[in-house]
Amino acid sequence: MAINATGPASADTGADRLHPEGRPVRPSGAARRRTWRQTRRQLTPYLFIAAAVALLLLLTYWPAANLLYFSVTDWDGIDQDLNYVGFENYVQVFTDPRIFEVFYVSLYYFGASFLQIGLALYFATILSFNTRFRNFFRGVLFFPYLINGVAIGFVFLYLFQPDGTLDTVLSWFGLTDPPQWIGDPEIANWSLAGTSVWRYMGMNFVLFLGAIQSIPSDIYEAAELDGANKWQQFWAIILPGIRRIIGLCFVLSIAGSLSVFEIPFIMTGGANGTSTFVIQTIQTAFTHRQVGIASAMAVVLLVIVLVVTFVQRKLFPDEKVDLT
C-alpha cells in the first residue's frame, strides 16, 4: 500500500480502512484524482455563486464602504485630497434642524401606504376568487409597477396641471373650481403620495395574490361546506393566512416612505414643501458640493431604516401561521 505523501489521503494507512462512504480506499494515483474530484465537488457551489457575490461586492458593498469613508471626510465630490474630519458631518446632520424637518413629509407617504395596502388587499382578494376577466384585471393592476418611475412622474405632472386631464374630468362632474394639485402646498404632498400609491399598489397586489393562492384550496372547500360566506372566508382564512406578507409590506412601506425619491424629484424637484430626505441628500451632495455631509445623511437614513425595521420586527414578531 503506497502512501501518498502530499494528499489528504496520507492519513489512510491500511487497505482495510474504509472510506466514510463505505468503499475501500484506493491506491495513490486514484486517490489523488479522487481528492481533486472531491475538492472540485466542494468548490462547485462556490463557483456558481462567485459571479453573483463578486457583483454584489463590487456594486453594493464596495460603494457602501466608500460611503462610510466619505462620511468622515470633507470631500466636495471632485477634489483629489480628502481631509479626515471625524464625526463632524454627523454632528451637523443631527444639529441642523433643516435636515430633519423634511421627515414629516414622509408621514404623507406612510399614511398613503395604508390606503395602498388596503386597496391591494381588496383587489387581491377579489381577483383570487373566480371573477370574470380576472387575468385581465390582474394585468391592469400590476402594470403601473412596470412603468419607469420617471415616465410616471411626467405623466402625472400633465395630469395635475391646471386645466389638465384631472381638472377636465372633474369638470364633467360639475367640479369647476379644482385646487392647484401640486401648486397648493396643502395638497401637493397628497397628490404626490397618491401618485406613489398608483405606482406601487401593483407590487403589494402581486405579493398578496401570490400568498392567497398558496393557501390550500381544501381549506376553502371545508369552509364552504361549513356554510361560511366570502366575507367570513376572508377574515378567517385569507387574512390570517397572509399575515406575514402583510407584515412584510408594512416594513417595506415604512422603509419606502422614509426614502421616497423619484416621484417628488421628477414632479416638483423638492420645491413647494415636498422635499424628502433623499432629495435633500442629493442637493447637499451635488448642489451644495458637500459630499461628506451628504454621505453622512445617507448613512443616517440607512441606520434609521434598520432601526425602524428592527423595532417593528420586535413589536410584531413573525408568528408561524397555522390554518388548521
Binding site: 462556490y46 463590487l58 471632485i78 477634489d79 396641471q161 392647484q180 402646498p185 413647494n272 448642489t287 451644495h288
Partner: protein, 441 residues
Amino acid sequence: MRPKKALAGVATFAAAAIALSGCTTGGAGDNDPSNTIDGEVEGDLKIITWRTDLVESGKFDEYIAAFEEKYPDVSVEVEGITDYAGEMTTRLSSDNYGDVIGIPAAIQPNQFDQFLEPLGEKAEFEATYRFLNGAAYDGTQYGLAIGGNANGVLYNKRVFEQAGITELPTTPEAFIAALQQVKDNTDAIPMYTNYKDGWPLGQSFGNLGGVTANPDASSEMAKDTAPWTEGKDMYAIDGLLYDAVAAGLTEEDPLTTNWEQSKIDIATGKIGTMTLGSWAISQMQAAAEDNGASADDIGYMAFPSNVDGTQHAVIGGDYNLAVSRHSESKAAAWAWIQWFIEESGFAENEAMISTVKAAPLPENLAGLEENGVQLMEMNAAPSGEEGLLNEVSSDSQVDLFGNIYRQELVDVARGAADGDKESFFADLNARWSESVERVAS
C-alpha cells in the same frame, strides 16, 4: 474546512473588486516633457462641449474643418454632453475628460491646478482679453471665456406697447408698476419665473454689482454678514422677484412651468418679461421666427435700477475653455482655444460678447447702449479669495447660482409657505452670516 474556504472565496472576490475599482488611475499626459502648451501643434484632440445643439446641427463640424485646415497636423473630435455640469463632475475623478473642456462649475478656483493646465500669468492676457477673472487663481490664468453675456431682463416689446408702457422702467417700483400695466391691459403673464425648471431663477444673480454699480460687490458679499439688507444688490435682485410674485404678477401655478414652452410664449407675446442673461436673446428670437412672430419683438433691458440716473448692466464670461492637465496634446488644445475665441466667429454667430477686447459688441445689445446703459465687468476677488463666495454659498446652503432658496422665496411670496419678505431675508442673512464667520475662521 468548508466555512474557511467560503471565506477565502469571498476574500478573493473582494480583492478582485478592489483591484477593479482601483484601476482607473494612471495616465500618460504628465510624462512627456515636450508635451506643453508651447510645444508642437499636432496630435489628436478631443473637445468636450455642452453645446450639443451645435454638434447635432453640424455647425461644430464646420468649426473643426476650419481649424484642421489651419493646423493640418491636428485631428479633432468632438463629444457633446447634454448634462454637462453633472457628467463632467463625475468624469473629473478619472483622467479621461478630453483635451479641451469648459471649466465645470464644480471645480473651485483653488482646485484649478488639480485638473487644468496653467496657461500663463493673468497679467499677460489682460491687454487682449475680457472676462479673465472666472478662470484665474492667484495670478495664474487657467482658461479663457468662450464669450460673454450681459445681464438684465428680457421682454416682449409688443406686449409692453399694448400695455401702454412708453418708457422702460429704471427702478424696481417702476418695474412692478409696468408689470401691473401688462396684467391690466393685456392677456400676457407679466413675468414668468420658470420655477419648475428652477435654473432660470438663478439667472438674476448675474446682476450682482449692477444694481449699486459696485464692481467689487461679489467679493464684498463673501464677507458681508447681511447682504439681504435694503440698499444692497441682493435685496434688490431677490426683492424684485418677491414683490412681483407677491403682487400676483407671475404665472398662476409656478409648479407646472415649462422652459421650452416659455421660449415660445415670450416670443409670441403670452409672457411679458423674464429675468435672463443676454445669451437667451438669440434663442427667443429663433423661437419667435419659428412661431410666426417677429424677432424684433424681443427686447432686452438692464435690471430696473439706477445710480444717480445711470443704469448699469454687468457683463460676464460664459463657460471658460481650458486645457486638461492630462491632455496628451496640450499645444494643440491651447491652439484650439485661441483659435476658437479669436478666429472661429463663434461669438458673432451666437451673438455673444467676444472675449477679445477689440471686437465690437453684438447687435442684440444695441438696445442697452441706446438707453445709455453702462456695461461693467466685475473686479477680480483679492488673490487667494477667488473661491470664497462659492464656499460661503455652499456652507450656508444658500445656492446663489441655483434655485433652491429662490423657490422657497417664491413659495413665501405667493403665500404657500410661512413668513414674509422681512422674515425670509432675515433668515437668509442669519444663515449667510453664520457661514461667513465659519468659513473665515
